[in-house]
Amino acid sequence: MDYLLHILIMIFIYAILGLSFNLILGYTGLIAMCHAAFFAIGAYTSALLGIHFGTNFLIGILAGMVITGMVSLLVAIPAIRVRDEYLIVTTLALLMIVYTILMNWIDLTRGAAGLSGIPRPSIWGYQISTPFSFVPLLGGFAILCFLICWRIVHSPFGRVLRAIREDEIAAESLGKNVRAFKIWVFVAGGALAAIAGSLFAHYMTYISPANFTINDTILIFAIVIIGGVANAWGPVLGAVILVSVMEALRFLEISPVIVGFTRQIAYGLVLIIFMCFRPHGFLGEFVTAIKRKEEKKINSATNAEKAFSALSQRGKVEELFQFPNGSAKSATILQLAGVSKSFGGLKAVNQCSLDLQTGEIIGLIGPNGAGKTTLFNVITGFYSPDEGSIKFAGKDITNLPAHQITNLGIARSFQDLRLFAHLTVLDNVLVARPRQTGESLVGIFLHFQRVAKEEKENRQKAMAYLEFVGLADRAEELAVNLSYAEQKLLSLARLLATEAQLILLDEPASGLDPKVMEDLFPLVKELVKYGKTICIVEHNMEVIRAMVDEIVFLNAGRIIARGSPEEIMKSPELAEIYFGV
């Protein structure tokens, strides 16, 4: 009986490890090799405090979380700054360094001999020592961790994590500080793993470096992979399966050494086989779709409305795009002064100076390679200019990071759309909503009501944007399942949902059929009434002629002409440049 309880307790501990790792790997798509190291730091911190100072295990757990959090922060900051592969390397190195420290800092850790005599936990003077009394304690912690993870992934914070996993550039372009999100989720995952470590130490009363090798990281990988990547229940299922199998192997009559190898080989093969045939594990991410049934009802109600053409929804438009001070017409909103950007020897943007007035619609045209998209990338902060300055609404934004620029009020679309393919249509738009309290970890755990209220409003708003582009009935579909034209409309809805004042559209018309364009573009054109300013890169001259007030003609990185569509289109020199000789 005690043996079965022991298995249950181990399942709890590994479930916590799996749940915390799922945040990092499953939801955010970060590959970290050091989960066993976080487990170790939690275990050793709590154990050492218990042995030397007789600290209560709850304080030990907290201390373990704090120290693990600090270590993970130290690793994450330099690694996450650049690209995700760096994290694999630094975390693998961290894992090996922690192991080295455990083995070699004999005075503190007693090296390979390990720490023994770790005190059993006690609560209110009641000593917990039998497996029977450990079950509720560890079960309680496992449930707590499950709830914490559940809250994180089902909050706006979790939505941004999944968006980052799908396309981090798009997430950045919607005003999300991608690096900060990654760092916080990494730290949160590490701190949760430390809880498992502390509990493990106080339950086993003996720990040694052998408990925290790369093999344990692999086990945690396997737990998440088998159970189901990015599924809240996945790691629980994974822990049940793997811990049971691990214990069952003990009953085979082979030497323990061979069992160890067999187990590792089994984990390795499981990883390979799952990746080849079932990369999302037993429970994929979208099992959760069942819970969305209730929202379906809202959709069918809006379905009827959708029968109207988008045009008939002027009232809706007014509601969506209220502009606080509609008087700002003709104030300069964007000011480029002598902006240049080179790649190697190529001057992609060369000494561009450009003023945009509030309420204007500008068409940016020019032959392929003229630097139009590069100019967008420079304005929105994806490239920082080599020289020159950019001012938006009187504020210098020249070297601000992209997400800050979006939050100030400039949003852009991408030629290749960059939708979050495996998020629903509705979630794609919801991610774009600005200033969500639920996008900070503090927010989701301290301001329950405010988050719920905002979320409700944002859902309504998001549905309204989807109605605006005529996609309301597809709200629960995954973005990847939409047709190209629908995806294009979704990218527009997502862009508008940022509430940016200055909108940069990169080839909005390509791939749309004429009927949709006729319906939609007059509406887009109307947006200027509500204080929006629009800059369009487009090759379709019909669209340009119909939409814009002024054309800016770009060639070889330079602005060579600016004027009304008629003037520009009449000019034979420009036509020659545009169409080639």
């Binding site: 650049v82 690209r83 080295t100």
Partner: protein, 292 residues
């Protein structure tokens, strides 16, 4: 001062191993963008193939040859049967990475099961101690350095002067464009895995001669394969080579003041410093945050 030069020589020989690891993995990563974690498995396969070759009565040179053949066959097989299959299934980099991780663990433990975990030496290298003043080193150190230099120069020559090498460089700089120009990208992926696996084999053999082969050398090897590439800058073969030597020197000279158990810590500090000061690596020309 003698101690210093002693440590420099040790560092150069250690750095030579890192250099080989770095350029072999760096080539594969630059060409295929596959985070080839199973490169560590290739390393262990090479070491044990060489060991097996010697046990079956082969001369050291034949054993080394067995190691090279084993490594190349293994590397090609992984690319042909695992990675290519996954890429066809539109696997994300994460999926490919985890499959590679599984491969490394499986191979390491199969070898541990078959050969045990004690160090398996390669014998027959005629070690001679060379003394210059009071600085002593042996011809194995020299041989490591020469091997690394030959492999590096050979690789650079191959990439710059041969038709296949130029095609590889085309794939490195722009895989889509290379495909449009009629370069069979799949074929060159296979070639990169062949060359990368060929390159790592000498490092495995040399390490086995110096300290014997153990199954867990696989993840040691993979860690020291990435570090030079990241410190040197992704996509730059000379960068990886230089970074390998720098790590070797830093670790070796570090021993002057710090106990040798903390070598890895020194390498890690170098890595973090480079990431903070120059995130693209010493010779990195692009920051890959995905194409905008």
């Amino acid at each position: 001062m003698d101690l210093f030069w002693q440590l420099v020589i040790n560092g150069l020989s250690l750095g030579s191993i890192y250099l080989i690891l770095g350029i072999s993995w760096g080539l594969i990563f630059a060409v295929t963008r596959t985070f080839h974690f199973a490169h560590g498995a290739t390393f262990v396969v090479a070491a044990y193939a060489a060991y097996l070759g010697q046990q079956m009565g082969g001369h050291l040179i034949l054993a080394a040859l067995a190691g090279i053949i084993g490594a190349v066959l293994f590397g090609l097989a992984i690319e042909r049967f695992l990675y290519r299959y996954l890429r066809r299934a539109f696997a994300t980099p994460l999926v490919i990475f985890i499959a590679a991780l599984g491969t490394l663990i499986t191979v390491e433990n199969f070898i541990a099961m078959g050969f045990g975990t004690d160090a398996k030496p390669l014998e027959g290298f005629p070690i001679k101690v060379i003394k210059i003043g009071r600085v002593g080193f042996n011809n194995l150190h020299v041989f490591m350095f020469v091997t690394a230099a030959v492999l590096l120069i050979g690789l650079i020559f191959y990439l710059r002067r041969t038709k296949n090498g130029k095609a590889l460089r085309a794939v490195i700089s722009n895989p889509e464009m290379a495909e449009v120009l009629g370069i069979d990208v799949q074929k060159y992926f296979l070639l990169a895995f062949g060359i990368g696996s060929f390159l790592i084999a000498p490092a495995a053999v040399l390490v086995t001669i110096e300290r014997g082969a153990t199954p867990d050398l696989g993840h040691w090897a993979i860690l020291y394969s990435f570090m030079p590439v990241i410190i040197g800058g992704i996509g730059s073969i000379p960068g990886a080579a230089l970074a390998g030597i720098i790590i070797g020197l830093a670790e070796s000279i570090g021993i002057w003041k710090i106990s040798s158990q903390w070598q890895l810590g020194i390498a890690f500090v170098v890595l973090v410093i480079v990431l903070i000061i120059k995130p693209t690596g010493l010779f990195g020309f692009r920051v890959y945050r995905g194409k905008i």
